[in-house]
Amino acid sequence: MARRSEEPVFPNRLLPYLLLAPQLAITVIFFLWPAAKAVQQSVLREDPFGLKTQFVGLANFHRVLSDPHYLDAAILTVWLSMATIVLALLFGLLLAAAVDGVLKGSGIYETVLLVPYAVAPAIAGVLWFFLMNPSIGTLSGAIKALGYPWNHQIRGGDALALVVAASAWKQIPYNFLFFVAALRSIPKSLIEGAAIDGAGPWSRFIHITLPLISPTTFFLVVVNLIYAIFDTFGTIHATTAGGPGQSTTTLIYKVYNDGFVGLDLGGSSAQSVVLMAVVIVLTLLQFRYVEKKVTY
């Protein structure tokens, strides 16, 4: 591999640029240009008719960050992400641990448990929205029978729980797959050795399995976090539309809503820039994991 970086295989001068052209053209036109525009607009203020624009420095950022609704959306995003990640990881790990030692039928389980991966976040939202419908939902009916008057159309907490349930459900297969792969890579001799030493299944799981799969867990936390912040847009937009009130308005939903519905160009752009910073940090975190894997 070291040799490859020294000399090229093919001497062509123009060809590599032609090969890269489509990828770079799309990147520049549809990624860099809009991103630059977001940065530019975040320091401008435009009147609603788009007639006048003026430079306002960091005023948009100040306005956005001191807006209590923005703070609410940020806190909500954190809660929603944490709940989604914990649920999706827990169920994924539980099912992976169950399937890893099963003697018959693991192939069928692994296939069926994969299905929600194929379901779009928006569709997952619609499925759960129906399941939890206050008057005719199957699950909400069961919850009501237990004495809790479920209604996500009125109560914000219920709406948030609905979004979390749909989002976690959709993400279980992904975590399941990675946990299965991680569990399979643990040498059986380690587990058996511990068993001979008298460690029970629970103690073996806590003291041997969990530490060994921790790199996978860390990677999944980052991936799930990115998912919970960004991909839940479809789930929310197709079902609760950010409500009732602001109870399911996440940061992403707010960027969309302020920009497209509220037509607050500067404010929406400033929010975009803040989110870009968040993604950059998360992406670098994700790649740190990759780097670690390589040096193992």
Binding site: R4, E7, P8, V9, F10, N12, L15, L19, L20, P22, Q23, L24, I26, T27, I29, F30, F31, L32, W33, P34, A35, K37, A38, F91, L95, A98, G101, V102, L103, Y109, E110, L113, L114, V115, A118, V119, A122, I123, V126, L127, F129, F130, N133, T138, G141, W169, I172, F178, I191, V223, F233, G234, A238, I252, Y256, F260, L275, M276, V279, T283
Partner: protein
């Protein structure tokens, strides 16, 4: 041997069956609801066995659509989704294959810059730049076009890195031998690298097909005319009918049809897909 006792196996199977119920339950309820008589849905909670109204409902939505929600016939939305998903998957694979080939097999000024530009796309998902992206799309006249629905999503850092990773494992001697035999670069790519990359390409195709099919925000931004709706975003128009109860049987039929194609692809290609997913993220 660890984990071989009967009790333990029984517990494992119970846990897994509960998992299966959790995973398939919401989908099954949706399917059952789509087969019920519309009058029955609103009167009681959904039963566990399908009703007899399914053929009627599915024929209706596929042919007529959902007039009140302004959604076109479902066959059109399904066709749009299929086209968009295949175009995005194929486009991403071709574009990434070419870029990875350029980066691994050539040396040229700006190579590292190109690499970083591709990497940056990972950090700029559509969600963080919704409004300016829409402006660019509108500026280029791509609103309500199939170009607008597909081309902007074809850049892919993940796929490029995957192919790059794979090319780096191909022994240098193979390329040297090919060149000494007089093979031109594109012939080498086409006749040697491409056949060797078959499994990666198949795995990526499944992942990217699902990715393309499940796009939501992008079609929402790029389309205003119902005839360009994809099914995953079109369902929102049915949900959001103001001042009336949603017609649940048609919505659930739409949800079922929207999740069926990617689910079938994932199930049929499970082995390829799982290996590809676990590899591509590492």
């Amino acid at each position: 041997m660890v984990g071989g006792t009967t009790t333990e196996q029984v517990i494992r199977h119970i846990a897994l069956l509960l998992g299966v119920a959790l995973v398939l339950g919401p989908i099954w309820i949706a399917f059952v609801a789509s087969t019920l008589d519309p009058a029955d849905i609103l009167s009681r909670s959904v039963p566990l066995v399908p009703g007899g109204h399914g053929v009627q409902t599915y024929t209706d939505v596929l042919v007529k659509g959902h007039a009140r929600g302004g959604a076109p016939p479902l066959w059109l939305m399904l066709a749009n989704s299929l086209f968009v998903a295949v175009a995005i998957a194929v486009g991403k694979i071709v574009i990434s294959l070419l870029s990875a080939f350029a980066i691994v097999y050539f040396r040229f000024p700006g190579r590292m810059l190109a690499f970083w530009l591709i990497f940056i796309t990972l950090m700029l998902p559509v969600e963080v730049r919704i409004l300016p992206t829409f402006e660019v799309i509108a500026h280029l006249g791509l609103v309500n076009t199939y170009w607008g629905l597909t081309v902007p999503l074809m850049a892919s850092a993940t796929a490029t890195f995957l192919f790059r990773q794979f090319f780096l494992t191909v022994p240098r001697e193979i390329a040297d031998a090919a060149r000494l035999d007089g093979a031109r670069p594109m012939a080498f790519l086409w006749h040697i690298l491409l056949p060797m990359s078959r499994t990666s390409i198949a795995a990526l195709f499944v992942i990217l097909f699902v990715y393309g099919w499940n796009q939501y925000l992008w079609p929402l931004l790029v389309t205003t005319e119902p005839r360009y709706y994809t099914i995953v975003m079109g369902i929102q128009r049915m949900m959001a009918v103001p001042d009336s109860t949603p017609t649940w049987h048609t919505i659930m039929a739409t949800a079922t049809l929207a999740l069926l194609p990617p689910a079938v692809v994932v199930i049929l290609m499970r082995r390829t897909f799982v290996r590809g997913l676990v590899d591509s993220e590492k």
